[in-house]
């Protein structure tokens, strides 16, 4: 199909490899803001989720967070954050990626918290009892018993969040951010199908790569601890596959 030929031509074109819109530039932008957002989200969400899951308190927070996280469309969130930024800084040019990163963090947190909670809650209470009985401190119980067993589900949450973040980064281009999403936005505006397709392919490849890669990690963790129950747990609590809390780019 000539579409594929156009696509190949676009990638071959040296103009797309230099300047502000160069592929390496946009790609590294995308990876940078995604990484930043994930790091921040993990720093906030992981300890919170582990605490809620281990102590069993504030259960409602975890449940409602998941529901709310699911219901808020990321596009809406991006725009709201943009609006707030513009209000605060009276400038739309500065911090082009600021609102995006904030939105990404906000969207990544629920998956991580909820899955950490679900994963820890699913650990056999008898094992935890036994560990405490053996004289382990709470932090040791968490580290040596609960965490390894809950790891697959926690990783599933991180995987969902990562894919979510990559998707939101792409969407961020719509409100003026950088990253691979810029190609899509430009392609749509200019009716340039090759550029549109190229951007889409790159974003998709990045997201799928992250999903498959983290999925492999998740499976390895599950194989090691023999806990393949995350899918069933997800279905039983009505949340669908544990790794599929929300589709990317919502």
């Amino acid at each position: 199909m000539e579409l594929l030929a156009d696509l190949a031509a676009w990638f071959a074109d040296p103009a797309n490899w230099s300047g502000r819109d160069a592929i390496p530039v946009r790609l590294s932008e995308h990876l940078l803001i995604s990484g930043l957002a994930m790091a921040a989200a993990l720093a906030v969400a992981l300890p919170t989720g582990l605490y809620i899951g281990h102590s069993g308190r504030f259960d409602l927070v975890a449940i409602n967070l998941a529901n709310m996280g699911r219901a808020v469309p990321s596009y809406a969130l991006l725009v709201v954050f943009f609006g707030i930024f513009v209000m605060e800084t009276r400038s739309a040019a500065l911090f082009t990626n600021g609102p995006t990163v904030l939105a990404m963090i906000a969207l990544a947190v629920p998956s991580i918290v909820t899955n950490a909670w679900v994963g820890l809650r699913a650990v056999d209470a008898d094992l935890v009892e036994a560990a405490r009985g053996m004289g382990m401190r709470e932090s040791q119980v968490l580290r040596r018993v609960e965490l390894p067993l809950a790891l697959p589900v926690i990783l599933a949450g991180i995987r969902t969040a990562t894919v979510q973040v990559i998707a939101t980064a792409a969407l961020g281009a719509v409100i003026g951010g950088g990253g691979l999403g810029r190609y899509i936005v430009q392609g749509l505006a200019r009716f340039d199908d090759a550029r549109l397709l190229a951007g889409a392919v790159m974003v998709a490849a990045l997201a799928i790569g992250a999903d498959v890669g983290l999925g492999w990690l998740e499976r390895r963790a599950a194989a090691r601890t023999g806990s393949a129950a995350d899918a069933e747990a997800g279905a039983a609590t009505g949340r669908g596959p544990a790794g599929a809390e929300r589709p990317a780019g919502v």
């Binding site: 792409a170 719509v174 392609g187 997201a207 992250a210 589709p247």
Partner: protein, 230 residues
């Protein structure tokens, strides 16, 4: 840098209630078609998996990959092939529902206890009779939970679709952003969130109504009444 006035111009909004209603209706309509079509396809796939269990792996893997693709990218992939129309949007949306719905429909069927299936066969239900009158009602709770997730997430995805075609509440966001008009995009954002939450609440209520038999009206009568012993 254009001057940005008061954040939300309510009088302006009130003048355009019918426009807001129209956009909301469009949004609901797009969601309904996607979830409806997605459910029909997923149900068919689930029946196939019921007959051929090895199909579950491949089908789930394919749906999973589709699901991982960011919506913006998926729309963008389809535009050069199908163009910028409702069809493009619907195809992508339906694709996103598949993973959740197939998984939950299959899980729903698998949640029916083996002895209930055995009893149904022994009573003399035909294969179809058993499917519709025994397995489906018992699978309903998990299926409805899946529909709930699918609907809420689709509502979110429809906002992004506005970048392709000017439909739904997402259009308020896109248009408002383009014109640096906070009233418009904030309203679009707020309405789409509200819509998602209302849909979520409706499905929660539906989940409860669909299973009258899981909430006992009176507790089981414990020590069995001493009937005239044999």
């Amino acid at each position: 840098m254009p001057e940005i006035g008061p954040l939300v111009d309510f009088p302006w909004l009130l003048e355009r209630v019918d426009m807001l209603a129209l956009r909301t209706a469009e949004h609901v309509w797009l969601t309904a078609i996607a979830v409806g079509a997605g459910f029909a396809i997923s149900f068919g796939l689930a029946l196939l998996i019921r007959r051929l269990p090895i199909a579950y792996g491949p089908i789930t893997a394919a749906a999973s990959i589709l699901y991982a693709i960011p919506s913006l990218a998926l729309f963008a992939l389809l535009v050069p092939i199908i163009g910028r129309s409702v069809l493009t949007v619907e195809i992508a949306l339906v694709g996103y529902t598949l993973l959740i719905l197939v998984h939950n429909i299959v899980a729903g069927f698998r949640s029916v206890p083996a002895e209930v299936i055995d009893a149904a066969d022994a009573l003399g239900y035909t294969a179809w009779g058993r499917l519709w009158r025994v397995e489906l009602p018992l699978a309903l709770p998990i299926i409805v939970a899946g529909l709930r997730i699918a609907t809420v997430t689709t509502i979110g995805l429809v906002t992004v679709a506005a970048l392709i075609a000017p439909w739904g509440l997402g259009f308020l966001i896109t248009d408002g952003f383009r014109r640096f008009f906070p009233t418009l995009y904030l309203t679009g954002a707020a309405l789409s969130v509200a819509l998602a939450m209302i849909a979520d609440a409706l499905f929660v209520a539906l989940e409860r109504r669909v299973t009258p038999w899981t909430r006992p009206a009176e507790p089981p009568t414990t020590p069995e009444r001493a009937t005239a012993a044999g």
